[in-house]
Structure formats: C-alpha cells, structure tokens
Amino acid sequence: MSATADPSTATADPHGTAGHGHGHDDHHEPFLAHHFESWQQQFDAGKLGVWAFLVQEVLFFSGLFCAYAVYRMLHPEVFEYADQFLSVPHGAFNTVVLLFSSLTMAWGVRCAMLGQRNGLIGCLAVTLFCAALFLGVKAYEYSEKYHAQLIWAGADPLTVSPSGMQAGAGHLLELDPEKRAVGEQLEERLASTLHYLEFGMGVVGLLTLAAAVGIYYAKPERIGLAVVFGAISLSAIAIVIGAMASMGIHHMMHASGHEATADSEAEAAHMAEAEDEPPVHTATPGTAEIAGSTHGASVKAELSRPQRLGTFFGIYYAMTGVHALHILGGMVVLTWLLARAVKGHFTPNYFGPVDYVGLYWHLVDLVWIYLFPLLYLIG
C-alpha cells in the first residue's frame, strides 16, 4: 500500500498510516481502497458510478417503453383486447410486494448507516424473500398465459403437428377425451405445471437449507457459503409461497366470477381460460385468430383474437421478462450483501455496497411502477 503520509486528510486517516513508516499495514482498513483519501470520497465516487449505471438502465428500459408506445399508438385495439388477459389482482399483489421490498431495502440502508448489523441482516432477508415472492407470482402468470396460448408472435408451444398454423387451441380439446370445458382443462394444466414448480423449488429449498445448516456447524469459518445456501433456500421457499398464493388469488377470482355478472372485472380477467366452445380457426395463414369465446352462463360479447395479439404479448414478455431478469440479478447481489452483512463487513463508514444495491433495487421497483398500470390497468 501507499504509505506516504497524506496531508489532505487532516481530521481522519482511515488508511492508518499516520505515525507509521513503510510496510506497517496492520492498521489498514480492509475495505478502503488505496486510491481513495477518505471513506467519504470512496462512497461518493462509488455512488456516482452507480448513478451512471442507473442512467444507462433508464435508457435501456426506455427502448422497451418506446416499443410499447409506438405499438400502442398504432394498434390501440390490440391493447384493449389483451387487457382482459392480465389479472389485476395478481399484478396488484406483486406491486405491493415490490413496494414493501423497497421499504425494507431502504430500511436496510438505514440500518447499515447506523451500524445495526442484525437489523441490516433482517431487512436484506425480507427484501430477498419479497423478490422471490414476486418471481413466484410471475411464474404463475407466465404458466397461465402459456397454457392459454397467449404467447409471443410466431411461437406455438402446444403444437404437436408440423402443420403449425392450424394447430393452436384446438389441441386443447382433442387431447381431452371427455371434452370438458376448456376453462377446467386449462386450470388443471396450470395447476399441474405449478405443482411441478412447487415440488422442484421445495426440493431445492430443503436441500440448500440442509447444506446451509451443515456448513454452519461443520465449518463455521465458511459462514459466507452457509449464508449463500440459506439465501437460495429462502428464495426457493418464497417462490413456492408466491405460486401457491397466486393459485389462491386465482380461486378467489374464480369463485366471485361465477356469482358476479358477465361484465364483472374478475370474469373479464378470466377470459383467458374461459373458452368453452371449440375455437374456430380462420384460414388466414400466419395468424392464430380464434373466434367465439363465451363463458358458461355469461353473455359476454363474442370476442375474436386480433391478428396482432402475438406482438402485444411479445412486448409484454420482453418488458416483464427483462424486468424479472433484473429481479433475479437483484437477488444475486442481495445474497452477496447478506453474506457480507453476516460477516460484519459493513460499518457506518463502509456501507456503500448496501446503498448502491439499494439504489438499483429501487430502480427495478421504479420500472414496475410504470409497467403495472401500463400493462395491467389500461386497455
């Protein structure tokens, strides 16, 4: 390290070189980089760097918002139609989860600045839990849309035959010999997909929990690794809870949908799995236009899937998918923070990483603040 005495730091000498000659490194603060004069300078430099990154993030997401704006301006009817497939209760639940995680993140920064180690650990763990909960609900939403064949243009996942274009939702009925209502079949498929997810995540959660406990007792010096496994376990369990909560919301909507009138919002949100009649395919090649979807006793007006629905869902998956990737990235850095917080790295002088991750996390929240009303609410 540079052991030259620095005259500019009159009040504080965080490098601990005052009164020492060359080579006396024992008082050096491990987290203050050599090229910074003070904790304040290191913090400010890092923060400006993070703001530059966030500026880039804003511009990056603005590309997606631009696609949304242009497409919405040119084809408002597609947005109006697609709006019914996006479940407001699930979106609202996720919004509150994300807002709450922002609160706990900001609270964690506060704890870090005040040197409250336990408070910081708790806040980071809750933030991580909320992030995974959000992903659990998203897993439900994506599964539901996949089974209802609400996917991006050009994709046709349930197609078995190579003819492609003629497949579509017709397979849903052909695959079921009892010819039950499509809504029931879709719910069954959705539930089975989510059961696989919940089972897999449950296994991951238990295994990583066992690994975390094992490492903690067998090798206490590898506490960081134990925390990482613990964080993965926490995330897996939160994803299971999120998926189960989504199914709960789904059943609540379903129950109220049967009692309410045809225009009720829950009913409209249910149109995704509510195609009782065999969908009729038009001969138009290259589109999956399905006509005639009514639900039970309801007198919902006949709806046909607009030609460009696939493009709307392309935009939907790009926007929410990239946002979900940011959540995943946030979970990785939160795990890193959690391990360092448990090791006691952060002090009132050195809390930069917590603050920077917090800024990033709030930006992810910020994007969702715009995504939720633009995708779920207005159509």
Binding site: L48, F65, V109
Partner: protein, 145 residues
C-alpha cells in the same frame, strides 16, 4: 472537542482529541448509539419518513387500480395513469433513493437520463405518426395485389 454537523452535537470526550483511529471509532460507535440518526458520511432516512413514503405509495397504487378498473375516462385514462405513476416514481426517487439529500451531480445525471428518454420516445413517436399513413398504404397494397 469534536462537532457533529448532522446532529449539532459537540463531543467533549477526551478520547476524540487523540489522533488514534481506534479510539475515535469507539467514540463514534458510542455516539451513533446515543443519537440513532447519525452517520459520518450521509443522510440517514428516519423511520417515520420511510413508513410515510411506503403508505403513500400503497395508497397511490390503490388509487390507480380503482381509477383503472372502475372509471371510464377514455383518452384521459392514459394521462391520469401516467401522472399517478410519476408521482409514485418521484416519491421513490426522492426519498427511497434519497436523491433529495444527494449531491447535485447525481441529480443532474438522473435528470439527463429523463431528458434523453423523452427525446428518444418523443422523436420515435413523431416519426411513427408521420410515416404510418405511407406504411399502411404499402401494407394494403401488398395484401391486395
């Protein structure tokens, strides 16, 4: 004697007089304990402020859901939705991201991103509006030869 500018405290503890870093850190820790809101580097968000911002955000979310699902406002809907979302975003940026207490340089950096985003989206929309009639005409030509 050492002054703590953020809380206006003056320390009379002898330990602060020495240049020994360890002793000063001990004092800082004790001081931080006495005055829960002190940090040597930055502004500490108070608990009431964080909670107020959170409940405001939840309230605005409820408002935008109510407006989006219950009211029929036509073209105004988009504008109102964006106004509420921007109010929420401002709360997050100003308080959770503590930009209100931040350096002007960081504020400038963030505002510049908004400027370029509005240029990007605005110019693209203007372009799309102007050329869409030609694009539509060509599409129709291609569809019906």
């Amino acid at each position: 004697m050492k002054r703590f500018p953020q809380c206006g405290c003056v320390a009379s503890d002898d330990r602060t007089n020495g240049s020994n870093r360890k002793q000063r850190n001990v004092f800082m820790a004790a001081h931080a304990h006495d005055h829960a809101e002190y940090n040597p580097i930055g502004h500490v968000a108070s608990k009431p402020m964080l909670l107020t911002v959170f409940f405001l955000l939840v309230g605005l979310t409820a408002l935008t859901i109510w407006q989006g699902t219950q009211l029929e406002l036509g073209t105004w809907e988009l504008i109102i939705v964006l106004v509420i979302a921007t109010a929420k975003a401002s709360l997050v940026v100003l308080f959770f991201m503590h930009l209100r207490y931040d350096k002007p340089l960081n504020v400038f950096a963030f505002l510049s991103s908004l400027l370029f985003m509005s240029l990007f989206i605005g110019l693209t929309l203007a372009d799309a509006v102007n050329y869409q009639p030609e694009v539509s005409a060509k599409e129709e030509d291609a569809a019906s030869p």
